[in-house]
């Protein structure tokens, strides 16, 4: 029988730590659709990364938002607010729900009133920890509670709003969808040098690439002869073969437990 842990989640104290847009391994179709709709309808005011714009507040670092129930969040988007947000009823209920799902995944939080207080843990978290920092080499790239690498997303709060199935899917079939800031590109410079790394930013004029050694490379687009977009992140794609079902279950258990363990450094009221 799978052990269960209680999720000690208090909506009022949830803060988003170390979020980066590249923490997006496992999103369902709904969230993927929500990402599209968010860019269409919301980003103009709330910013492309939902971190706020001049016309509207950040959605991920505003502490009052996690306190709202799904129904309350839905109503805000559907009917607008007295504070100046227009209603978005016209985009349809399904799109509103998709946007909310996208934002929840993005922030790694579940709104307080819909948090499941019990989480099924399919394996042994301690063995999972050993895998995370050992054989599975997750910590090579991913931070967990202050330990691990830097090139990929911080997984400390990753599992907070995800089920075991979500996480297994993210590990075994990564990059669905691929977060733009995680995309591996291969640049060829005018001198023929090839650089392979993760694209932290690009525009018409420049490319900002980070290689796995942590080094940032700042390039003028005009000085780059080829940009090969690999359409994938650095995440290995062979975990389904490399890890046994039990190991996978253990690893997922470790993530689930970690994501639901209150961080000791987290502020209470202050």
């Amino acid at each position: 029988m799978a052990p269960r842990i209680s999720a000690l989640l208090l909506g009022s104290t949830l803060l988003v730590f170390g979020f980066a847009a590249r923490d997006l391994h496992a999103q369902g179709d709904e969230a993927r659709q929500g990402a599209q709709r968010f860019i269409e309808y919301c980003a103009g005011c709330h910013g492309a990364d939902a971190q706020g714009g001049d016309k509207a507040p950040p959605l991920l670092s505003t502490s009052s938002i996690p306190r709202l129930s799904d129904a309350e969040l839905f109503r805000i988007v559907h009917d607008g607010t007295n504070g100046g947000m227009p209603p978005f009823a016209q985009i349809g209920d399904a799109n509103i729900r998709a946007i909310l799902q996208f934002l929840k995944n993005l922030a790694g939080y579940t709104s307080a009133k819909s948090v499941s207080t019990d989480v099924a843990v399919p394996g042994d978290p301690d063995s999972g920890r050993a895998l995370y920092f050992g054989k599975a080499r997750c910590s090579q790239c991913h931070l967990m509670q202050g330990k691990g690498g830097f090139i990929a997303g911080n997984l400390t709060n990753y599992a907070r709003n995800r089920t075991a199935d979500d996480i297994v899917k993210a590990i075994t079939t990564p990059d669905t969808p691929l977060a733009p800031a995680s995309q591996v590109v291969i640049l060829t410079t005018g001198s023929g040098q090839k650089l392979t790394g993760v694209l932290r930013n690009e525009d018409n004029f420049s490319l900002e690439l980070q290689t796995e050694d942590g080094r940032f490379h700042f390039l003028d687009r005009s000085a780059v002869t080829d940009v090969h977009y690999t359409e994938r992140s650095l995440m290995p794609r062979d975990y389904a073969a490399k890890l046994s079902p039990k190991e996978l279950a253990d690893l997922v258990s470790f993530l689930l437990v970690s994501g639901r363990t209150p961080q000791p450094e987290k502020p209470a009221a202050r």
Binding site: V16, G18, L143, N154, S206, R270
Partner: protein, 577 residues
């Protein structure tokens, strides 16, 4: 060719010998930069002398490598070149750049390069830190890494602002980051020390370092000293007990804490009857400076609380309105100098104590130079704390009739009461936290001053958490102030020039200086100004459209020198075309 260096001052002659050829990561970039220097010379542009003391490493650190890995030698570098690795640039607090590409001759051709808008609070008070072509800035509790050439965001650490704070922390002001190795350190509005991986912006650890009084907050940038991160606190006007604390940079473990208000049984506690020491103020809300040779950390403290009512705190109110000299390894007090004993006018002493090695009246000395909020400029012996020189820098000075031979002010006996007394300088200070600057080549000390008076009233306050502890309802200025940018010569011990500032706004912009004899500052007309340091004559300005509440810095990437400054809710960067 303009030469601003004093005759006989060593000239900076870039050559390959200055380059650490063993540093594989740096050498190519360094050579590129040196080539740029030579190119500038070839075009007949001024390459001026800079004063590098014998024994000082003059190797230009022209690191554009994109590799974040700040070592002790980078932090000890003075003056700074391409990198600007800490709040004031180097440990002396001189806010002086050795970069020489931008000169009086070409400064009129400066042009805006990019603007970064973090979409959070205004005004920004941050000084950007630049390492290896990456700029780090903060806005409220958020931190950003930017491509210093383009302003593009590399990563963004998001953290919600803290609800329920008051006063300055309640406005979520933040002055920036410190870097050591691959790690970034910052203070949050609610006085947590964050350690982030500077390569990703991910949180490594966090320490809540001010507890027990909800009025604590933080607005400053941390200072790295050896293997420790030193942080201060805000909230002195709101009845907190000030302290300075040092944490292990690797683990976040607290190593020492110096309380600026002595507890019962400690020297100085006689000013703090009962439990008033718990609310005595003396906050530590600006970064200090550090002398590695004397192994001494210098840190200014804020005013006592309650601010305008001294009846609860008889005596000198140690260690408020002081410069503290501390052992950075233990936090032990070596000496202190109190600028405003028993302050009644909100005269914080957190203005940067600039560490200057210069001759004073013919004798080479290790000095600390500071223009104080109380209207006096001080020169101290920084080995002993001995007062060497003082001078009033505002004409309307009326709270003290002068300084005695030990530098102690001779009080004019103005006691705020319910009716109020007119005090000059006003409570906002004859200068304030905005940075001063010292140019070691010209021996000129630059700072912004503000000439104003205020009617200071006092009503006995009571302390409560969640409420400011100001001892007054109102302070009425009732008269317009006059702002100056000042150049004080350590050679003549007098002002070389004072430049009256025009504009509809009261600027809060600091000053910096460069090895080519330039100064840079934000003015009262919403402009960023580059001026000739010898005369104060403006050479170029750019209308920022927003008031500067911050101090400028300079950096270089790929052989190109930039100036950067925060104004309003944006960061601006400038360079030659």
């Amino acid at each position: 060719m303009t030469r601003l260096a004093r005759p006989g001052a060593p000239q900076h002659k870039p050559s390959a010998s200055h380059v650490c050829l063993g540093c594989a990561l740096r050498s190519l970039a360094a050579l590129c930069f040196l080539l740029a220097f030579h190119a500038a010379t070839a075009f007949g542009q001024a390459v001026n002398g800079s004063a590098h003391s014998p024994g000082v490493d003059t190797r230009p650190s022209t690191d554009s490598s994109g590799v974040i890995n700040i070592q002790q030698q980078d932090l000890l570098q003075k003056p700074v070149f391409a990198n600007w690795p800490s709040y004031n640039g180097d440990y002396t607090g001189a806010r002086y750049s050795a970069l020489q590409q931008i000169t009086p001759a070409n400064a009129p051709r400066l042009a805006a390069q990019w603007v970064f808008h973090p979409h959070t609070v205004s005004p920004l008070e941050v000084t950007p830190v630049v390492v290896a072509g990456i700029m780090f800035v903060t806005s409220a509790n958020d931190a950003f890494a930017l491509d210093a050439k383009t302003g593009n965001v590399l990563w963004h650490h998001v953290r919600a602002i803290s609800p329920g704070l008051i006063d300055d922390p309640g406005q979520h002001r933040n002055r920036g980051v410190a870097i050591l190795g691959t790690r970034l350190y910052m203070e949050t509005d609610n006085a947590h020390l964050l350690c982030l991986d500077a390569r990703s912006g991910h949180l490594l650890w966090e320490v809540a370092y001010a507890t027990g009084n909800k009025n604590y907050g933080a607005t400053s940038a941390p200072l790295i000293v050896k293997d420790k991160v030193v942080v201060g606190i805000s909230g002195g006007d709101d009845g907190v007990r000030g302290f300075l604390a040092a944490f292990d940079a690797a683990t976040g473990e607290e190593k020492w804490r110096f309380w600026t208000i002595p507890a019962p049984g400690e020297k100085g506690n006689e000013s703090w009857p009962g439990d008033t020491y718990l609310h005595g103020g003396g906050s530590t809300w600006m970064p200090g400076t550090y002398d590695p040779d004397l192994n001494t950390l210098y840190w200014g403290t804020g005013n006592p609380a309650p601010d305008y009512d001294g009846r609860l705190r008889p005596g000198d109110d140690l260690y408020t309105s002081c410069l503290l000299a501390l052992d950075p390894d233990t936090g032990t007090l070596k000496w202190y100098f109190q600028f405003s004993p028993h302050d009644l006018y909100d005269y914080d002493a957190v203005q940067t104590p600039v560490l200057v090695d210069a001759s004073l009246q013919g004798q080479p000395r290790k000095l600390a130079v500071t223009a104080n909020r109380n209207g006096f400029l001080y020169i101290l012996d920084r080995a002993t704390g001995k007062f060497l020189f003082g001078k009033s820098f505002i004409d309307s000075q009326n709270w003290a009739t002068g300084l005695d031979e030990n530098g102690r002010p001779i009080s004019a006996g103005l006691i705020p009461d319910e009716k109020g007394v007119r005090v000059c300088p006003a409570n906002g200070g004859a200068t304030n936290w905005y940075s001063p600057s010292y140019n070691p080549a010209t021996h000129m000390f630059y700072f912004r001053s503000f000439e104003a008076c205020a009617l200071i009233q006092s009503n006995a306050p009571s302390f409560a958490e969640g409420r400011a502890y100001y001892a007054s309802g109102i302070q009425t200025a009732g008269e317009n102030g006059k702002a100056y940018i000042n150049a004080f010569s350590l050679d003549t011990l007098d002002f070389a020039w004072r430049s009256l500032q025009f504009g509809r706004n009261k600027g809060w912009g600091g000053v910096m200086s460069t090895a080519t004899g330039l100064i840079a500052f934000g003015d009262d007309g919403l402009n960023f100004v580059i001026a000739e340091g010898r005369t104060g004559r403006p050479l170029w300005h750019f209308h920022l459209g927003q008031l500067v509440h911050a101090s400028p810095m300079s950096y270089a990437v790929d052989g190109r020198q930039y100036f950067a400054i925060a104004a309003g809710s944006d960061i601006f960067s400038f360079a030659l075309p």
